[in-house]
Amino acid sequence: MLVYWPHAGPTALAAFFASLVEGVEALTVVLAVGTVRGWRTTLLGTGAGIGVLLLAVAILGPALTWISLDAVRAVVGTLLLLFGLRWLHKAILRSAGVIALHDEAAIYARQQQALRGMHASATRWDTVAFVLAFKSVVLEGTEVVFIVLALAAGRRGLLWPASLGAIAALAAVALAGIAVRRPLARIPENSLKFVVGVLLSAFGTYWAGEGLRAPWPGHDWAILGLIAAYLAVAAVAARLCRWRVAMTAQAAGR
């Protein structure tokens, strides 16, 4: 199988980082549910959620190859672009202090408190634990499935690098979760989201351009140029936002 390394490397990396972020968020909820309600049904809910997501990849991944490549690139590229810009938009605002940083430890504490207020199950089967773990894994995992499929949709042969990147990240999160039994609050989640936003925006722009017949100078290598360009734009945007926040605060203080 021919693998285009200017795409395969960044594709695997984007899938890895995005899945790491989503995995950490799902782990926080699963840990909170497991420690308060018990592990048996929590792990069953987690397993069922992972099963549903694997089934979605197994069905939708090959189905994308049935559609014309130009149509897939235009539609999936546009969706990936909107998805990436949404992440990057939030990451820039977080890094500039406009919106609050994502705090896994605080979310974990809130989840535990809410779960303690609920009635304990009288039987071994705890529906609350199952549903909460299942819902958390499916909600966060849907984003992982979309990212893997969207990154792989632009060119044949990219499903494997994207899937391997995601599997490696989820395995790393699971092992870390088993080892520390606490939310992974030390992972620089907001910096990771910044990087993921840059990567997804770059891939979305590239594939949307290919699908809409807007050719790129340098062809495949343009993806690396787009990553560098989005990184520069995001860094400048974060600085300008900080400056704007300071100016607005100064004006309000007068």
């Binding site: 235009a74 546009t78 969706l79 672009l81 909107l82 998805f83 810009l85 949404r86 990057l88 938009h89 939030k90 820039i92 605002l93 500039a96 406009v98 919106i99 909600l139 849907t142 984003e143 979309f146 925006s201 722009t205 949307a208 351009g209 809409l212 017949r213 807007a214 050719p215 790129w216 100078p217 343009a222 787009l226 360009a229 989005y230 734009v233 995001a234 400048v236 945007a237 300008l240 936002c241 704007r244 926040v245 607005t248 605060a249 309000a252």
Partner: protein, 72 residues
Amino acid sequence: MQWLKTILREAFGLFVDDGWLAIASIIWLAFVWQLLPRLPVPAGWRGVILFLGLATILLASVLHRAHRDRAS
């Protein structure tokens, strides 16, 4: 029907957080797709113009949000 509404809301939320950013990006993509090929612009520049427009939209969107949230 509540579950269907929840699923649709979650799916919409995956792609749209700031409505202005999403709409402006789609309009720019439509411009590059349908109108740019009719203008006297070399084909090799279309990708670069696509990126420059999207970068400008992103920049304008975050600056507007920074100003709005701090002013309110």
